[in-house]
Amino acid sequence: MNALPLRVLYCNCTYANVVPKATKEVVLRELAASGIAFDAVPDLCELSAKKDSCLKELADGPVKIVACYPRAVKWLFSAAGAKLPDEGVEILNMRTETPEDVLKKVFSEPEALATV
């Protein structure tokens, strides 16, 4: 069993218009309002391109990634040298899922999330 705390990573996909704006806004607003500790990045692709070491840290522990297609997220991490493990990772797709569904899944294990 993984003893590391569950983290949440939110990608704002700032530099493209492919994720519905309304979905991003609702998800970010609710994440912020929830009081949980989480990481928000302007653009996951940018982090991958820079091979940002934070991706490796995230790949080390259980994480819920709120971004886009799981196949894209998986290989973006891989491209940065941060292979996501097969277990303990949940990728939520804001391109196809409703904000309500995304948030429901993010908060499905509230006891595991650090709150302010």
């Binding site: 990481d39 991958s48 820079k50 934070c54 840290e57 799981p70």
Partner: protein
């Protein structure tokens, strides 16, 4: 002492953390949301930090710690790991003011403005990739290369032409993704059998132009030259070329800017030959390895 922001992303070159643990008051939910949204829209990553979100310290870079601190903090401090930490009290500051503060620290740290480059580049799905090297042969902009194990990889993602997904069109396995592309499966959506069947998912460039693409371009060039010499009509030649490129662009969803930045025909010929040679060499090496005596022994 206030602990260093210890969220997962703390080791990036420039990070912002909103500290809401001991020694600081949490922001109201709406104010927190507005601040996060404002920072993200300007390209700043931000971590909401509290006492329970403890991970490793940052290894280098610049860290801006925002908070409604109870006590005065030093404007700037150096952590034991060499991180420059800037503390800013954001009590009574609007989101726009905080963004301006963060940006001034970025300028002070002599770091580039975020968002100067739209992160558009191919991502390889190695579950599907067969290392056929078609992408390497195709790309004229040196985006692809081969690693030490002769495996295809994206080597120069900043050389990729923004909004151009052309290489993914030539991939026979739908293994090249552009996460910011509009349509699936190039955007990372699940690859269905229909996708595999669909002709446009495996655009045969040869078929599209009636032969090798570079040969086709050369033929067209020759045709243009011939027409030009006969008719002495540069405008007509240009019009024809534009028409051809527009058609190709529409079929492959390639932005006009990409065509505008294509090298000359001579350079294309040279680059194509180099890329093809590189791809062929990698394929030859693969074959050699597959049939090496050692492998043969292992196989028996």
């Amino acid at each position: 002492m206030l602990p260093l922001p210890t969220t997962s992303a703390a080791s990036a070159a420039f990070r912002v953390a909103l500290f809401e643990g001991a020694g600081a008051d949490p922001l109201e939910p709406q104010a927190r949301g507005e601040l996060l949204s404002a920072l993200l829209s300007k390209g700043f990553p931000i971590s909401v930090v509290n006492e329970r979100a403890n991970v490793s310290e940052a290894a280098s870079g610049t860290l801006v710690v925002l908070g409604r601190f109870h006590e005065a903090k030093p404007e700037r401090a150096e952590s034991t790991t060499g991180v420059s930490v800037f503390f800013r009290n954001v009590r009574n500051a609007s989101a726009a003011e905080v963004v301006a503060t963060v940006d001034s620290i970025r300028v002070e740290a002599n770091l580039p403005k975020p968002g100067a480059w739209k992160p558009w580049f191919p991502v390889i799905d190695y579950d599907r990739c067969t290392n056929c090297m078609q992408c390497l042969s195709f790309c004229l902009f040196d985006v692809y290369g081969i690693d030490a194990d002769k495996k295809i990889q994206v080597q120069n993602n900043n050389k990729c032409k923004t909004d151009c997904p052309a290489c993914s069109r030539v991939c026979p396995e739908v293994a090249i993704l552009f996460p910011k592309y509009r349509h699936g499966p190039i955007n990372g959506d699940v690859v269905s059998e229909d996708d595999m069947r669909r002709e446009n998912m495996k655009v045969d460039i040869s078929a599209l132009l009636g032969g090798d693409i570079y040969q086709a371009l050369r033929d067209r060039s020759a045709k243009f030259k011939s027409r030009f010499s006969k008719e002495r009509d540069a405008d007509k030649a240009l019009e024809e070329r534009t028409k051809c490129l527009t058609k190709l662009g529409q079929q492959l969803d390639i932005p006009a800017e990409v065509f505008a930045s294509l090298p000359s025909f001579e350079q294309i010929r040279t680059k194509a030959a180099e890329a093809a040679a590189k791809a062929q060499a990698a394929l030859d090496d693969q074959k050699k390895e597959e049939y090496s005596p050692q492998r043969a022994q292992e196989g028996t």
